[in-house]
Symmetry: C2
Subunit: 325 residues, 2 copies
């Protein structure tokens, strides 16, 4: 019987591929540039090459592959495997990704939202292993989310669930890219954090950041704020702390709503460590009931940057098995 699954993490910059065995061993990995600018066919060609590379380096034959899973940016229809038009994949419009990849590869292909597969990866093989009920936040340009309950991804009736970044945390608050006001994402993404810095500087805060960005506040990013903290800049610390408080408020809501065992954070921002996690934990506890607040462990991703690629494989296995039933 086929005991291997392939996971592919389709990002705007890189395509990552992994070959995973049914018993959760990682047998091969590959990463290569997405060539997003060349359009859907080039990207699918690139993914095909990535799959062939992991097969070759791990010495596994194509016929021993059970299925492949693709974590792609949304919006999409996860059931049909059609990807609508992700902002960071130019030229994509209703691409039947699952069908196309199945034609190229010859085994069943499944497509899922990138934050969902990252959540599933952490549930299957990372910081959420052993939990039945967990959620994940990806802290990047935006705030993505995934939720596992009853040992399954919570996708909702249209597959749009788990938009944790679009929990409201502030009535009449900041305008968010989604068109609503006061979303967690508008405060707690890297973009939101930079906005907090810019607003502070514009209202008179004294900080090394002004110098670091050469007076061009638009250049302030997560890296610069981290560097500011490393150099002992109080304002940079304050900005990170504010970001953590917003995250704690959103996570407090999640804890009261889902009573999860774990809340896993991933994305570049988590490199900040205790400066970020301590105020998140403190705020989330204050913002939630005692029992679920004490229960929920707020932890960094166990798989580092590989939650998505491993989760894509795990998701594909779960969907393949559900289909076989």
């Amino acid at each position: 019987v086929s005991e291997y699954i392939i996971g592919v993490d389709l990002g705007g910059t890189n395509v990552k591929t992994a070959l995973v065995s049914r018993d959760k061993k990682i047998l091969g990995k590959d990463s290569r540039p997405t060539r997003a600018e060349d359009g859907p066919n080039a990207v699918m060609e690139c993914m095909t090459e990535g799959v062939e590379a992991v097969l070759k380096c791990s010495g596994v034959d194509k016929k021993d592959i059970l299925a492949a899973g693709f974590g792609a940016p949304g919006p999409m229809n996860w059931q049909t495997g059609v990807v609508f038009s992700p902002p960071n994949l130019p030229g994509w419009k209703n691409v039947p990704l699952a069908d196309e990849m199945q034609k190229r590869l010859g085994f069943p292909c499944f497509v899922d939202n990138d934050a969902n597969v990252a959540c599933y990866g952490e549930y299957w093989l990372g910081a959420g292993q052993g939990a039945e009920n967990m959620c994940l936040l990806t802290l990047g340009t935006g705030v993505g989310g995934g939720i596992v309950v009853f040992g399954q991804l919570l996708r909702g009736i249209d597959g749009t669930a788990a938009e944790i970044g679009h929990l409201k945390v502030m009535r009449d608050g900041r305008l968010c890219g989604c068109g609503a006001r006061g979303c967690l994402e508008a405060y707690a993404s890297v973009t939101g954090m930079s906005r907090t810095a810019v607003e502070g500087i514009e209202t008179g805060a004294k900080t090394i950041l002004t110098e670091m960005c050469g007076g061009d506040l638009k250049k302030i990013d997560g890296k610069m704020i981290s560097d500011g903290i490393a150099q002992g800049d109080e304002f940079s610390k304050h900005v990170m702390h504010e970001t953590a408080v917003w995250l704690g408020i959103g996570i407090g809501s999640l804890i009261n709503l889902l009573n999860p065992e774990k809340v896993v954070l991933c994305g570049g921002m988590i490199a900040a460590g205790d400066v970020l996690f301590n105020p998140i934990r403190e705020t989330a506890k204050k913002m939630s009931f005692e029992v679920p607040g004490n229960r929920a462990e707020i932890v960094p991703a166990g798989l580092g940057a590989d939650s998505g690629v491993i989760g894509s494989a795990g998701c594909a296995l779960a969907r393949y098995e559900a289909m076989a039933k």
Copy 2:
């Protein structure tokens, strides 16, 4: 085989009982005062009498009862059926309600949180029938909640999930009874609505409510605000509208998080009708993504005040069947 289930809704004021058949027909109902002030034994006696009354009036024999379900105020352990110490049941401390009732009645007894059973009732037999994924808000002294996903109540690892009233909607907002700030309940419960009225009057609003409460602002309640609206008082309308906007914000978060088919509202406040529902729907749509926002129907409870008693029976049936597997 036994084809009947009993549902009991244990409220601070009344105990309601219903006899329901497995094919969802209601064969008998009873309601009687709880006698909460006489302590746990008197209350359990009262529930036993209620059960006997519905058996008698429906002509069903005790031996044909499959199980009974009890919807009780939390906090509790739903798995062991122990009720900790609900604020509106004086003298209750760690009462093993399921075991005690099973001793008295002779058939399996299950205990669940009152908002959860109301949600399950609406899912099983009310406005959520046919949905696989829904949530319910009870608008009363507080804001309770229930969530059904994958056709099951979402209880979380400790049974504390679905505290929809304790979603945060405002950083550094009103202090809530739970100890946190900015909870939906602090704005959108009947108590929260009255608080909005009082704050408005204290900051100079002119309204008929001042006269209606005889100058004693503490007397302002949901009924008075409804009466104010009926009499054309603009401020009363504004207070209801504000309450609806807060609800819309919280429900917008829920829609983005759960992508539910239905959001069901129950409790006395829903009698306000369109004055309440229209701004809730409008705000929730603005606060959520297009696809899930268009999907989620925001509707009043289909079972009126009986969601809880019918849901208790439905929950007991589901748990009995899960146990039997």
